[in-house]
């Protein structure tokens, strides 16, 4: 195969030879960039499920190149060139010759850019600063230092040791932690500190850097890089470091640096200084001699970074949302709203969690017997450290009468009870409440689910979705439904009180996610008009049960699209 690859590359005009290296023969391609003779050695054999790598032989004479990490291989210096990022590639593993050729071209193209454009090369070195930093970290210290730091300013913070015996989870990491009162009191961070089973390991000093220099190539160069960075700090910062923080004496310091790289993006990285005797933070060559420096991986664990990195939206943190009904649909909605970064959820439901709920609810089995809202509030705060979900054991109308509806930015109702939902709408009309409301429900047998968004000052309200499409009067069932009314759709395994609508967790999750998306769009200000949305599933289970479906079901082709909610016959919206 090697010979075929070589012949192919020669045929494509590359200058190829073979050399003996390491375990066997390797192809070497020679090319010239900016008068520099470059040798690239192919190091992988087929089959190829990712781009095969080419190592740059003896790269040091080219200076520091972005996307090239230098290692020693079979007694020679080689530079591993990273050409994969940022694209996601689909590799033609059935045509290895083409894959090798494409990989080679990409390697040469990247090196050309690095060598011929020093500014771009420097900017890329800064962009990949943290990746380079990780390369000089001790491979055994794979658990990053967690840093609950909100602002990139000079400051000192406590560092907590991992909890003894913990192998996984937040408690198994070293943690830089200030007093963050926005964290849930039952988040792992707070709990482990409150329980007093984390000891303080030492101090962290946070140092913002104005001018970042590329990360050192080797861990041996860490001292030099540190001193250069400290000496490059503005005098004001150095003075403050010496005067304010130089008074302490410690055997270990965690120095957390932060700097902007390119495009205003901020990076954080850390190193640990360990000494034998308690000393002040070393800031000079002389004082550094007694300290051992170690680069550390770091993971910023503040609300801004954690929420955004997880796809959440910071602007939603302050929104107040009530979720009424935390059954299979409502719990999913509450979960997704919390995941979106909404901290202030009020969960409202009088029901207890039952064994019957287990297979279509997000709560774990140890909550059986507990109020669903209490359990969900705890579960959300345990998963989302900045959630402060509250709970109430009210029914919908009890909640309406005991709370100020206008205090909420949004009310989401997922109780699957059209009578109570219409009653609540009438209550809002009677009390002139202006709060926006989402009603969400699903139908049995996997035929689909629905949600309406009722914005008080926009045309279209919940009652529009109840207008009888035949007569134009206020109806009793939603005109969005896919199952015809007045059929036996409940199943019963043990008679009265044990009836249930047949649907699976996939249906409730899909409905919940759909409603949550609508809620998020509204809260972000992207959805300004009242609307309705449905998803449509297959009819096979309904057909097997002899359930009749509506004209809307058979003609519906707008799953997950936001459609206007207003109905011309709605007595509320059209007058």
């Amino acid at each position: 195969m090697l010979s075929e690859i070589k012949q192919h590359l020669i045929k494509q005009g590359f200058n190829c030879t073979t050399i003996e290296a390491g375990a066997g023969e390797r192809i070497v391609v020679e090319t010239t960039i900016l008068n520099h003779s470059i040798q690239l050695m192919m190091v992988e054999d087929p089959p190829y499920y990712s781009l095969p790598g080419f190592f740059l032989i003896n790269p040091d004479f080219l200076g520091r190149l972005a996307h090239v990490s230098v290692h020693e291989y079979a007694g020679i210096q080689i530079g591993a060139v990273c050409v994969n990022a940022p694209e996601s590639l689909s590799v033609n593993f059935e045509q290895p010759l083409l894959v090798v050729e494409e990989s080679l071209r990409r390697h040469i193209s990247l090196l050309e850019k690095c060598i011929t454009n020093p500014d771009w090369n420097h900017s890329e070195l800064l962009r990949e600063f943290y990746s380079d930093w990780l390369r000089i970290c001790d491979p055994d210290s794979f658990k990053p230092l967690l840093a609950n730091i909100a602002r990139p300013v000079l400051q000192t913070l406590s560092v907590y040791s991992p909890v003894n015996g913990k192998q996984f989870g937040i408690e198994s990491h070293y943690m830089v932690h200030p007093a963050d009162d926005s964290l849930s009191g039952i988040s792992d961070i707070q709990l482990s500190i409150q329980k007093d089973n984390r000891r303080i390991a030492g101090k962290a000093v946070v140092i913002p850097i104005e001018t970042l220099t590329p990360a050192p190539k080797h861990s041996d160069a860490l001292d030099e890089w540190y001193l250069h960075t400290i000496s490059s700090l503005p005098i004001k910062v150095r003075t403050e470091l010496q005067q304010k923080y130089g008074q302490w004496r410690e055997t270990a310091y965690w120095v957390v640096f932060t700097a902007k790289t390119v495009n205003d993006e901020r990076t954080w990285f850390a190193l640990k200084l360990s000494g034998k005797a308690k000393k002040a933070l070393p800031l000079s060559d002389e004082k550094l001699k007694n300290w051992k420096l170690e680069a550390l991986p770091i993971r910023l664990f503040n609300q801004e970074n954690t929420v955004e990195r997880g796809g959440g939206i910071l602007t939603l943190a302050g929104k107040k949302v009530a979720v009424i009904g935390v059954g299979s649909v409502g719990s999913e909605i509450a979960h997704k709203l919390s995941a979106a970064g909404i901290r202030h959820l009020t969960l409202v439901d009088p029901d207890l969690y039952e064994i019957n709920n287990l297979y279509r609810h997000i709560l774990e089995q140890h909550w059986v017997g507990a109020p669903k809202t209490v359990a969900l509030s705890v579960a959300l705060q345990r998963q989302f450290p900045w959630s402060c979900a509250q709970w109430k054991l009210d029914k919908l109308m009890e909640f309406a009468r005991s709370s100020r509806m206008n205090d909420f930015d949004l009310i989401v109702i997922a109780i699957g009870n059209p009578t109570q939902e219409r009653l609540f709408k009438q209550y809002l009309l009677d009390t002139n409440s202006k709060v926006a409301v989402i009603n969400s429900w699903l139908e049995g047998y996997g035929v689909g689910g629905h949600a309406t968004l009722d914005i008080s000052n926009a045309k279209g309200c919940l009652l529009c979705s109840y207008v009888c499409q035949e007569t134009g009067c206020r109806g009793l069932v939603s005109n969005m439904n896919f199952i015809e009314p007045d059929q036996v759709t409940m199943k019963s395994v043990a008679g009265c009180g044990e009836q249930f609508i047949s649907y699976g967790a996939a249906s409730s999750a899909q409905t919940g996610v759909m409603a949550a998306n609508l809620a998020i769009r509204y809260l972000e200000g992207k959805q300004t008009k009242s609307c309705k949305v449905s998803w449509k599933g297959l009819d096979e289970d309904a057909m097997a049960e002899g359930i009749r479906l509506t004209h809307r079901y058979y003609n519906f082709s707008s799953s997950l699209e936001y459609l206007p909610l207003v109905d011309e016959d709605c007595d509320v919206c059209t007058h």
Partner: protein, 343 residues
């Protein structure tokens, strides 16, 4: 407020069901006549084994007529084994009961016995079948018919009712669609009563209109489920005119033919004149034009004016464009409806 809502109000005004208050007296008379018929037939040795309602009330297409009588269409069934060979013999029993009760104009017609109530706007038609297994035969013959014309004629009255009431061919919201058909039948029957003189109107048989509308029905329900009787009526009338019900006879003259879909498969308009066919054809075309005009009209008030022109004063025209009545909340007429909603 939509024109559909106006159609529904119109429909509520004109519809007549057997359980309606307006039909209460007719229903009571029907019941008491039936009791007497049962006794009379039993005494004569032909016990009634089954009885059912025929006509528009059985098909849920009955309407109130501004002037004409309420109809009773009653079928009584006797066992074929005990039935006399001469069908007129049992029809005489019916005549006897009706005469005894003081009906006027009681007479035996070819397919039925008919009479008018003395002091009420009530017209009664009673038909007699004999039944063997599930097969029905209609008692045909008049008092003065000769033996050849006194026959038990194979007939499928229940299948005819089933045909009109059948919604199995509709996919999705079948009940909604069959209700729309029935409303169209009522609209067109009222249109007939408004647009034809009494003599011709009588000959534009309801069953003929019903069969045409049912068989050429074009439902109009938007993908979102919104119902439009106006569009449905327009499309259905157009489909009727494009079908082969109207047979060209000579220049601008037509004969109308509508066959029963069940035994005896006769042409409902077999004995109708060319004048009846021509008038029906022309008036249906005129209706189609008006319906198109209404559909193209943006103003609800103007739409209603056009429709009032077709259906008469029972079709309301709002005083203003923005109907003040619409401000009153219209609630569902159902107390409770079962739903499939859950969470």
């Amino acid at each position: 407020m939509s024109v559909q809502n106006k159609f529904i109000k119109f429909h509520d005004k004109i519809k007549l069901g057997r359980e309606d208050e307006a039909y209460r007296e007719a229903r009571a008379k029907d019941n008491s006549i039936l009791d007497e018929l049962k006794t009379e037939f039993k005494n004569a040795g032909y016990p009634i084994i089954e009885t059912f309602i025929q006509g528009s009330l059985s098909m849920y297409t009955g309407i109130k007529h501004p002037e004409a009588d309420f109809d009773i269409d009653r079928a009584v069934v006797i066992d074929a084994d005990s039935a006399p060979d001469d069908p007129v013999e049992v029809k005489k029993l019916v005549l006897k009961v009706l005469e005894k009760r003081g009906f006027k104009n009681a007479k035996i017609k070819k397919p039925c016995v008919t009479a008018d109530y003395m002091n009420l706007n009530l017209h009664i038609d009673i038909v007699i079948y004999r039944k063997r297994d599930e097969r029905y035969e209609l008692a045909v013959g008049k008092l003065n018919s000769n033996a050849e014309n006194r026959v038990w004629s194979p007939s499928e009255p229940k299948k005819l009712i089933q045909h009109v009431n059948d919604s199995s061919q509709y996919i999705g919201s079948a009940d909604l669609k069959i209700r729309q058909v029935k409303r169209l039948v009522r609209y067109v029957k009222r249109w007939r009563d408004e647009k034809f003189g009494q003599n011709v109107g009588k000959k534009v048989f309801s069953i003929g209109l019903t069969l045409m509308l049912k068989d050429k029905f074009c439902p109009s329900i938007s993908d979102d489920g919104k119902v439009s009787d106006l569009q449905s009526l327009r499309d259905t009338v157009s489909a009727i005119l494009n079908a082969n019900y109207f047979q060209w006879v000579e220049d601008a003259k037509y004969k109308v033919n509508v066959r029963l879909p069940v035994q005896p498969y006769r042409n409902v308009f077999e004995n109708s004149s060319i004048d009846t066919g021509t008038q029906l054809y022309n008036k249906l075309n005129a209706m189609l034009t008006k319906l198109d005009q209404a559909l193209n009209e943006d103003s609800l008030r103007k739409q209603c004016e056009i429709l009032q022109g077709l259906f008469g004063g029972d079709f309301e025209v709002p005083e203003k464009e923005q109907d003040s009545n619409a401000k009153k909340v219209a609630y569902s007429s159902a107390g409770v409806v079962g739903t499939s909603q859950g969470a």
